[in-house]
């Protein structure tokens, strides 16, 4: 029963402002896809277009290959969880959950049975006779999800459903949600501005910025092969180190110089540089360590700050040229601020981006 969703070259303008620009997204049946990007990049707008709450300025929404752009929310059979949850304040939780069925004129006993079932599923069985205002944020969120899944839907849309929860609850709920939607097998489009949510929950991620789709793919694909510098810095925590590097050569071998760092390149990397004299260099923090890397490059650095995470630590280095670079260590290393020495990295692990277009090389 899972459905195939395609957004075909969607553009949405509000007056002269373009909120979504030429977005094409394909979501396979039953896939859990996450739309991620900074606040204001047009995620909610795109979701509203899928839900028929906004009409696109151009482009088409297709479900199972059928163009549904002109159909209403009702006809598209879409379910949605709103960022503010948007529960009906005057109805009890029981009535809130049963509302979509009431609209579809489902008979009362059947409705009651489904409400019970879904209430158990999202663990709000004991709250059925309360009003939304008597519930905590986490409980309201469960009601909103329950209301979205109580009837079969073609696509389920979730707009930052976790953003109103506290940090501990968020981590727990995101695992629950992933399991729940995995079991239901509904095609799901999930929106978040939090890259860690996107990485942990998704089958596929669509990264957006300023209304434009930057890259789509599996979480690890995005992490390992970011299409541009924005995706590289947005996905992953702590952020990738990005620095401007000059292309140089020494003894017939291509080199990159960025601040205190001198990095020999292999032939493949040198070929990708082409005739560029400057390039943006990206290095993941976990690629930089105080342990010697065989065949690696090193830079002289002083540790300025160590952020302990318990199972790992984020290490802030400063090079002799005053440049900052962030590395990461597993915690068995006894490290502390003030340490001076060599930090190591494997030249094969670096990312190269065109300085002008920011595209990956």
């Amino acid at each position: 029963m899972a459905n195939y969703l395609r957004l075909d070259r969607i553009t949405k303008s509000f007056g002269s402002f373009t909120a979504v620009s030429d977005a094409t997204v394909d979501i396979a049946p039953g896939e859990f896809t996450t739309l991620v990007g900074p606040s204001g990049c047009g995620k909610t707008t795109l979701l509203n277009i899928v839900a028929a709450l906004e009409r696109p300025s151009s482009g088409a929404v297709m479900i199972d290959g059928k163009d549904v752009t002109q159909l209403s929310a009702r006809e598209r059979g879409i379910a949605m969880v709103f960022q503010s949850y948007a529960l009906y304040p005057h109805l009890t939780i029981r009535q809130n959950l049963g509302f979509p069925l009431r609209v579809q004129k489902v008979a009362k006993p059947e409705r009651e049975r489904r409400v019970r079932e879904v209430a158990e599923l999202v663990e709000i069985g004991h709250l059925l006779d309360r009003k939304p205002r008597e519930l905590s944020g986490g409980q309201r969120q469960r009601v909103a999800i329950g209301r979205a899944i109580i009837r079969p839907s073609t696509v389920c849309l979730l707009d930052e459903p976790l953003s109103n929860l506290d940090a501990a609850l968020r981590v727990r709920v995101r695992a629950e949600l992933k399991l729940l939607f995995g079991r239901m097998g509904t095609t799901t489009l999930f929106v978040t501005h939090d890259q860690s949510e996107a990485m942990t929950m998704s089958d596929r991620i669509v990264v957006m910025r300023d209304g434009k789709v930057q890259q789509q793919g599996k979480p690890l694909e995005l992490y390992q092969k970011p299409a541009n510098a924005f995706v590289a810095s947005f996905i992953g925590s702590p952020q990738m180190n990005l620095m401007e590097a000059r292309v140089d050569s020494e003894g017939g071998r291509a080199l990159l110089r960025a601040g205190s760092l001198t990095l020999p390149l292999d032939d493949g990397q040198a070929a990708r540089l082409g005739s560029r004299r400057a390039v943006t260099l990206g290095i993941r923090p976990e690629a930089i360590t105080i342990n010697r890397v065989p065949g690696g490059a090193s830079l002289a650095a002083r540790i300025e700050l160590v952020e302990h995470l318990g199972n790992s630590a984020i290490v802030h280095y400063r090079g002799p040229a005053g440049d900052q670079i962030v590395g990461m260590e597993l915690l068995d290393a006894s490290i502390g601020a003030g340490w001076s020495g060599e930090a190591w990295l494997d030249p094969a692990s670096v990312h190269l981006f065109d300085t002008e277009t920011t595209l990956a090389l």
């Binding site: 709450l53 009702r74 005057h90 939304p132």
Partner: protein, 292 residues
């Protein structure tokens, strides 16, 4: 032990104690304010209970030794006054209901449905214009209109006039309310499959009850006490209580007692309504719809 164990934070300073003088001044102010507000009402109630002989004494008797229910009997026992009371109730209830229902619908359409040719803005402006006219300027046209339709001195004439007058007010109030109503709840209703009508009846209307109750209360009070149109459009059969009260003045002597009794009696329903609507005036139902 030395100073190192000093408490981390000093105890919070005690709240400033209000001096006796300040307290006294406060109570005097309150008393004066209350007297200004309460005295006319007290005097009215007292007048309705005084014996005839106590009305024109000099100096006036503020606390008469004896009271009577005679004026009340006279005012309320009069079948004409009973009829006027009924007229007022019928007219007020029907026009309040009609104006609130129609005004709410108007406001919802203006707030949520974008019409062609900038009709929303034009209609809104037209409504505002209606509210700018002094009511007296419309009384004569209404009189002519009702005479044309043969409706003079009927309850229908008053209902039509009052509904027409209250409609812009209700529309304006409800429009503000709808514009502030979080859109996401209605969007949820759309996603859940509601048609426009279902959305309005099942979601918007229940959420609007408090705002409608407040508008209705204002309309009801205004209509209940309305004198100008009632005097213009009615002569005998459809007369309302304010007209009856006003007509005590004039003829021969002024019947202070019955007039006061009737005034107090007509005040009671309004007071009850205000008390009943108080709940809505204080509490908003939309709380809890979105993250609160």
């Amino acid at each position: 032990m030395t100073d190192t164990t000093a408490p981390l934070a000093a105890p919070a300073p005690a709240p400033p104690v209000r001096t006796r003088l300040e307290t006294l001044a406060l109570y005097v102010c309150l008393f004066v304010l209350l007297a200004v507000i309460i005295f006319p009402i007290y005097w009215l109630v007292l007048n309705s209970l005084k014996f005839q002989r106590d009305f024109f004494t000099n100096p006036p008797v503020y606390f008469p030794p004896e009271l009577t229910l005679g004026h009340w009997g006279e005012a309320m026992g009069n079948p004409l006054n009973q009829r006027y009371m009924l007229n007022t109730a019928v007219v007020a209830v029907i026009s309040t209901f009609t104006a609130t229902a129609a005004g709410t619908l108007c406001a919802y359409v203006l707030a949520r449905i974008r019409m062609r040719w900038r009709l929303n803005g034009i209609l809104l402006f037209a409504i505002l214009i209606c509210r700018l006219f002094p009511p007296v300027s419309l009384a004569i046209p209404y009189y002519l209109l009702m005479r044309q339709f043969g409706l003079l001195d009927t309850q229908a004439a008053l209902v039509i006039a009052y509904t027409g007058l209250a409609l812009p007010f209700v529309t304006w109030m409800m429009l503000t309310f709808f514009q502030d109503l979080p859109k996401e709840v209605e969007r949820a209703a759309m996603v859940d499959g509601c048609t426009v009508v279902q959305r309005f009846l099942w979601v918007v209307l229940p959420m609007s009850v408090p705002a409608m109750a407040v508008s209705a209360t204002f309309v009801f009070i205004a209509v209940w006490n309305e004198l100008l149109y009632a005097i213009t459009l009615t002569t005998l059969n459809a007369k309302t209580i304010p007209v009856a009260i006003a007509s005590f003045v004039g003829d021969n002597a002024l019947a202070w007692g019955p007039m006061s009794a009737l005034s107090v009696a007509s005040f009671v329903p309004v007071l009850l309504l205000a008390l009943a609507a108080q709940r809505y005036l204080i509490r908003g139902l939309t709380f809890g719809a979105v993250k609160g």
